[in-house]
């Protein structure tokens, strides 16, 4: 990335598009406090992310950021319920509270009957819904989604985009990286990453 300056306000739904290798996912990791840029800074709510200690950055991720990955990244040896419990455990919640909240979230995404299933026992769509429930566990203000529909069939992809839109309507900032223009067009704002630079696309003109 080269000289990227980007301001995203709370409640926005932004898509980032661009060819493979253009740095979309890298941008997402930098914004999420996972990858220190060689120069420049990232601010969340006025706090400079990379001026913080690694443990403070981890705290910001726990409290304010939720990640969704293309390959779901569920912990393979944990059940759906335990996977959703992980961020709650990291936030310091007691086991009983973790179970209650994780159950509620899995019911919200329609997996109330799959609590004790491991990822290998779930369909890809169900796995992505578990990942969504896990992302929502600590009620983050910022949702960073990396190709959330990339591995899904169109119907399931629509379902996931529907969940993201619902969350956005509830006031969450959603920043979604995708190479699927149809998915990108569901956002209110589209950014194109090319040769390391960001340019804004007109939503209405793009197809």
């Amino acid at each position: 990335m080269d000289n990227v300056t980007l301001t995203v306000g709370s409640g926005e739904f932004v898509s980032v598009v661009g060819p493979s290798g253009s740095g979309k996912s890298t941008l997402l990791l930098v914004l999420g406090g996972m990858l220190t840029p060689e120069s420049g800074e990232v601010e969340i709510g006025g706090e400079s992310l990379y001026a913080m200690s690694p443990s403070n950055r981890a705290r910001v991720r726990r409290e304010k950021v939720g990640f969704v990955f293309q390959t779901f990244n569920l912990v393979p040896y944990l059940t759906a319920l335990a996977n959703v419990q992980v961020p709650l455990y990291l936030r310091g919640k007691e086991p009983a509270e973790q179970i209650a909240r994780a159950t509620e979230l899995l019911e919200q995404v329609g997996l109330g009957d799959r609590l004790d299933h491991k990822p290998s026992e779930l369909s890809v769509g169900q796995q992505q819904r578990v990942a969504l429930a896990r992302m929502m566990a600590n009620d983050p203000q910022i949702i960073l989604a990396d190709e959330p529909t990339g591995n899904l069939d169109p119907a399931t992809g629509d379902q996931i985009l529907g969940f993201l839109e619902t969350l956005n309507r509830a006031g969450k900032l959603v920043l979604m990286v995708t190479h699927d223009m149809r998915a990108a067009s569901r956002a209110g704002r589209i950014l194109k990453l090319k040769d390391g630079r960001v340019e804004e696309l007109n939503v209405a003109d793009d197809s």
Binding site: S25, L29, M34, L35, S55, A58, F67, Y77, L78
Partner: protein, 406 residues
């Protein structure tokens, strides 16, 4: 969900991969525990056998030379009997038995033999000044091993041959060596005269093949009176604890008795010290191998585990896990591996030692609970140290590499 839930579930999920490392540490600790257990009882047995050889330290007059261990006291030079008091009250550790002697050639029924005066234990106990020193009431040192159950108990009087001291001896009692007894045709409870004083044979000593066979033992003070020499002795035989000897007991004795010569019976002491150090050396060699093999196996497993779980680690970091939590996840797993390996190794090693001890070292081997603590500590330490670098690497994984891999 807690840290241990994450660790336990991961272990359970990938138990087959953990098995090799677990076996490496388990077998390593098993070998260490077996060697330690067998060598402990083997050292005891050696100490017991060396104890049977008798005294291993001699206190002689300065000018005396040690030609023969069994006849060290048969020379003309003398020491004051007061030296025994000095030794008994010295408080020096490692003096298990003290036996002063005064010897002279005498004629009994026309036959020349050696009359040797010895001081029975009762004399030590009857002297208030010596009682505090408690030479004979101390717990058994390494040179004096408690009788093993089932072993033959030597008749009290005959312990003189082995332990160089006896419990009681009256002024008119005599113990007669086998050769003298045969040539004078002496029998137990028979009375006979030595330099005109009557003595009663309280025991005939078993044959030893040494000059002791041609000796008549009597109370030291009776011999001093008979010889008209006053409170003097020719030598003091001491059964010293070999470990204390190696820690400088002889130098301390020389310091306590500057006008006497203190010598060790080198072969006896050296044998035990060499045996002990050989066992210790062997344990050290095995421990080094276990540390290397066990440690390398665990480090190898941990590196592979980190590599295999890099995506999971990246995800946990993205979800807000701190790098220190990732380190703790791996170290907690290492600790579990170490503790279970240590306990398992102790149990297996103890069973192995009990089974092999009688065959290899010809000694009965019993469990040593103290080794459990050592086994767990060593095992946990190896496991933790071997996992430090892999755990640190896990916490520093590049998220781009871990999360972007399809």
């Amino acid at each position: 969900m807690k840290l241990h839930t994450l660790v336990f579930r991961e272990i359970f999920e990938r138990k087959s991969q953990l098995l090799t490392s677990f076996l490496a540490i388990l077998l390593g600790i098993t070998v260490i525990v077996s060697i330690k257990n067998i060598s402990f009882y083997s050292e005891k047995a050696v100490a017991r056998e060396l104890d049977a050889l008798g005294a291993n330290i001699l206190v002689l007059p300065k000018s005396a030379t040690l030609q023969n261990y069994y006849s060290a006291d048969m020379q003309d030079e003398e020491l004051p009997e007061e030296y025994v008091t000095i030794l008994a009250t010295s408080g020096l550790e490692g003096l298990d038995n003290i036996s002063p002697k005064l010897s002279a050639a005498v004629s009994v029924r026309g036959t020349t033999c050696t009359l040797t005066g010895i001081l029975p234990k009762q004399e030590f106990q009857s002297k208030a000044a010596w009682e505090g020193a408690g030479i004979f009431s101390r717990p058994a040192g390494c040179g004096v091993v408690a009788q093993m159950p089932g072993a033959d108990n030597t008749p009290a009087r005959e312990t003189l041959v082995r332990k160089r001291v006896i419990d009681t001896l009256q002024p008119d009692e005599a113990l007669v060596g086998s050769e003298v007894a045969a040539s004078l045709s002496l029998k137990e409870n028979e009375s006979f005269d030595i330099l005109g004083r009557p003595f009663r044979v309280t025991a005939l000593l078993p044959q030893t093949g040494t000059v002791d066979d041609s000796r008549i033992f009597a109370h030291l003070h009776s011999v001093q009176e008979l010889l008209g020499k006053g409170p003097v002795i020719n030598a003091v035989e001491i059964v010293g604890c070999c470990q204390e000897i190696s820690r400088g007991l002889v130098a301390k004795l020389n310091q306590a008795l500057p006008d006497a010569k203190v010598v060790t019976v080198a072969q006896v002491v050296d044998t035990q010290i060499k045996t002990n150090s050989m066992m210790a050396g062997l344990s050290l060699v095995f421990l080094s191998i276990i540390v290397l093999v066990g440690g390398a196996s665990i480090a190898n497993y941990m590196y592979a585990n980190v590599y295999e779980r890099r995506r999971e680690i990246g995800t946990l970091l993205a979800l807000g896990a701190s790098p220190s939590l990732v380190v703790m996840m791996f170290l907690f797993k290492a600790l579990l591996l170490g503790i279970v390996g240590g306990i398992g190794g102790f149990l297996l090693g103890t069973v192995l030692a009990a089974a092999l001890g009688p065959r290899i070292a010809n000694v009965p081997v019993f469990p040593m609970p103290m080794l459990l603590l050592w086994a767990v500590l060593i095992s946990a330490a190896i496991s933790l140290v071997a996992s430090l670098l892999p755990a640190r690497n896990a916490s520093r994984l590049d998220p781009c590499a871990t999360l972007q891999e399809g």
